[in-house]
Symmetry: D2
Subunit: 349 residues, 4 copies
């Protein structure tokens, strides 16, 4: 392939933005065309993110000057609501859109409006031209889509963690517990007291117990896989580490499924997936085993050989949980091998 | 009270040992008599633990030289098996024993032998003279006992977190999930690769999923409270912080109990407890809110007002989860106000 | 002493504020009278700082409602400029003032105006009624003063680290290097990107190399001790830890002083100081040895027995470097034993 | 280039070992041939280092079975003394050697024996066939050598930080201060109490003040550059972060050199270097700006435009300070573009 993919990034001043730049600047088939930030217009991205010094020479431009309609694909690393406001114009120009925010995740616009406190401005695009960008579930539909709703970080771990048993109908969907733990970078690069080092370090807490925006996204996808409504208890927690996410999922095995070889089920389901690693039975995955890589690892446990399956899933929330997954989606959209530019070995220690 | 309690500590080179020294050296009614470590004989404790410089003048002595039988009480901050080997002699001399290890926790010696790989050497003392030292549950029996089995850290959070609903019979005991997270100090001060800074920092993992020594201790106590066997799924995790423990407990409310005011139940159950703080409904307790203090805080949640109660419990694993609780037991044993020497305000930030 | 000191705190929503509350709520001779925050009026301090739950029952009040003139002493845990605006009125009412900001640190008001970009509003008070509150240097003058300028955190370590050799005239004052490292809490509880967990964790950097507000404060005091101008190179660095400060100070010994027993000099200079610990020769002080305590520890090194003295100093920046020192000043102001309410053993691990 | 370099690694169970594997497994011209560990024979490297799952399929073999003489190059990621014991045999077989330990760093064998407590077993090879592997200083000689002594981590920062001014003779070499700070991974993957998470986290300390093995290595190289003996005060400190090293270097400018444009001097000296980034004047380099990359960044400061030059240098101690530099040396040895396989963008946040 000789022609490079011309890429634009809208809103590159957050962590998913800098992570996109890290990944895309090392991608062999990408040409970085523009990155926008109205507030930082003219500043070199490497001034804000010194890891990019000598690697990315772009400066932030305004959306007006960025000529995004000349791109092949535009990533939105923005707050919710931005992508849907610009999607129409970009699609009209033949540009594909990958939104790392929530505009194209929830298929149910009523749920979207409830959780994100804004009406959905392009339900038509959502319904007819977009796809929920979890490649391991929707690979073929993604390849045909114009707009990708890149999944949330928590949803990625829970959906991939449960897909094999839900697809096969082996567990009780009336009481699924997902106890999830995320590194602080998931909260973004906003100046807020709660995520200051002196508040979040040497500390651990739950949050969003009474309701989290990812909840409807997860249950919508889980229910689709299960072909029936899934009742999910989802409690996220904040871990004093920068990157990484671990979800511990508890499901009851249906009485008639107690003889299932779950290990084999998972290994077969994900045998061809480059980024899903089903670890040997009894493994204890660690978030550092995926740090700065697009891998997601799953381990299965069945304590006391009882009727509960404990599924432990790890990923880097900024890579497989955000920017890496977005690049994986781009690869699918443009017919590239899915792991192009995503072969990084995780950084350990 | 003029006469001081003469205190001995066996095995003070670990984290529960130094924490005992921190607390006891500030306790108004304690005289530190001896601290033993065969390996470090002659070394000043403040050389090993520089926070004690100018505060504790003791040096480590051998058990032989420590004259422990002259103490009023001896704390064992040792590996499992040490306290039960010395209990007989100390009791004969009228010395009370507080064991921070597991020798006097499990009432079922078969379970003890299964998990700790050693026979129990004094089942008589265990049965007739000892008490499980969870003051909020066994206050009166503790006051009459000679030997205290100081509870494990995880058990403390789970038992106190569930006691009100188990005592009242309000929840389904056939499927209780306790997803627990501990700071690294819980693993002790042993030189091991797994708890090196470069391994444990910026990382998160589950461990002991297929079985943890605290599991039988917890179920034994929970079942006693519930007056029926409790089925517990217990998954501990390691958090990159030094101190702190948070347990997220999920229980199904019995259909006939759905109208219960759980907040009120908990507030009343713990109204007189100095060290159990039932936070306002909807609170999100943080481990730092109890750092270096003997407080344990509980918050109740009922997501979507459904049939699952989510109980979040925090404590400092080295204080209420170990050495602070041991001092609390000592206060009860010697008829002191329970919070004597334990009034420290948690250190935040 | 039966009558308690009635204490007010202006601006208690930062880290020095909560640390004052932690210390003062455990001080046996203090009655907390009021704490002000215009922005948080009516909120309980324990809602903002959950470590204070059950320990401090105050709510924030406006300065107008706080009746600060009824206090015996008012602490200012505010930005620069606030204390000097209110000092006059408080002094007129016979209230003593302890300012944790910079208003009463620099004796040279021109320097103050240069670094803090505001005119000094009460140079008379500064000159005639205030004292630089480093007790180990100015104990007697402090006892006679109405207003205390509580020292900055960096200055405390450098001045106490150098006082013995400067007072004795033993080192070359033309080239003093102080390479200092501070935990992140020194940057305060302001919402800023630079001190977010995801920015400051797993990272190390220098800052303020071209000029830091503490520089003139330090040189003013050092020059006073040396009785000649001291040329100081001062480079602060940010350490990914919450509390703690370590200063490594390099000075050349004067040729005629090469035979000095510096260890003895320091031990004698600080022999009676409760909060200055001169460690044995060759010690390597750690910040955790003073965590949450008012201790400051000093160790001396003379690599290769050469002509350079390396002085290593540690303190907790929020205690001896701020709020603990302020309470120490209060004790002196009110004739209490200096260590009253400041006997906490450092928290380790 | 079609033929791959056949690589062996001796002693791959430490952090420099796993980092070599991370880098070499992504290097386009490398074939991993063998990795040895007598203790872990037969274990897959990806079992020990889960980041390598799916990336490196090798298992540890014994030195006997590894057939290292069939390699083109062998890296020694071993304790001191191992490489020199095997160098003779490997050289005889035409295999090049890159030692990440100290055997071929010090040219002065008496100094080697003093600091490493063992005689040097092959002074001939050291003298005639080896080179100190700091590419930016010795590029041409490295290309002609059979054995590379890969520089220590601290030396790399200090030598590259000072080379331009020493080569030009612009500073006073009688009093150079290097105050250095390292992440904990520099201490290796040995099970030791001092580097446990609960000891090293939330803590900061100096170490090796009275003498550190890197001291003679640094002064030997600095003196060679300066063509006169350099007097260095070197104090290393331990930072609670995994990776990263920052050195703050203080030198006095010679009176006759006060007009020098140091910024320009450094920019020109390193203009062609791929891995040395001279940042704009006034920059404040952060260790995270080089995390997991082979970059080293330098910033110059001259506080108050005085006679002291403050040079701040950052690198990742495991990459440019160890394994990345070793790969850079391999590239030079085999005539590859120096940045082959070393183009990783630093991971931020």
């Amino acid at each position: 392939m000789t022609k490079k993919i011309k890429v634009g990034i809208v809103g590159g001043t957050g962590y998913t933005g800098v992570e996109l730049l890290r990944l895309l600047s090392q991608h062999p088939h990408v040409q970085l065309h523009a990155i926008t930030s109205r507030k930082e217009e003219g500043m070199k991205v490497s001034e804000m993110f010194p890891n990019l010094r000598g690697k990315v020479d772009l400066a932030f431009s305004t959306p007006e000057n960025a000529a995004l309609t000349q791109c092949d694909v535009v990533f939105f690393a923005t707050p919710h609501g931005v992508a849907m406001a610009q999607a129409q114009e970009l699609l009209a120009a033949g540009v594909k859109v990958i939104d790392l925010a929530a505009d194209f995740r929830l298929q149910d616009t009523a749920e979207f409006e409830k959780w994100y406190k804004m009406p959905h401005s392009c339900p038509d695009i959502l319904k007819n031209q977009s796809c929920y960008g979890l490649v391991e579930i929707n690979r073929e539909k993604i390849a045909q889509s114009q707009v990708i709703g890149n999944p949330g970080c928590y949803p990625t771990t829970i959906i991939l963690g449960l897909a094999p048993v839900l697809e096969a109908g082996l567990v009780d969907v009336s009481h699924v517990v997902a106890d999830c733990k995320s590194g602080v970078s998931g909260a973004g690069r906003k100046a807020e007291v709660g995520t200051l080092f002196s508040e979040a370090s040497d500390n651990f807490k739950a949050y969003g117990v009474s309701g989290h925006r990812h909840h409807p996204e997860i249950t919508e996808q889980l229910s689709k896989l299960a072909k029936e409504p899934v009742q999910l208890l989802f409690v996220p927690h904040l871990v004093p580490m920068i990157r990484g996410m671990l979800s511990t999922i508890y499901v009851k095995i249906k009485p008639e499924a107690l003889q299932t070889d779950f290990q084999k089920l998972y290994e077969e389901r994900y045998a061809k997936e480059a980024f899903v690693d089903v670890m040997p039975a009894g493994s204890l995955p660690e978030t550092r085993s995926v740090r700065a890589s697009n891998q997601l690892r799953i381990a299965l446990h069945r304590p006391g050989n009882g009727d509960t399956l404990v599924i432990v899933v790890v990923q880097d929330n900024l890579v497989k949980g955000a920017s890496g997954q977005a690049v994986q989606n781009m690869n699918v959209l443009f017919g590239l091998p899915e792991d192009t530019g995503l072969g990084h070995v995780a950084v350990l220690p």
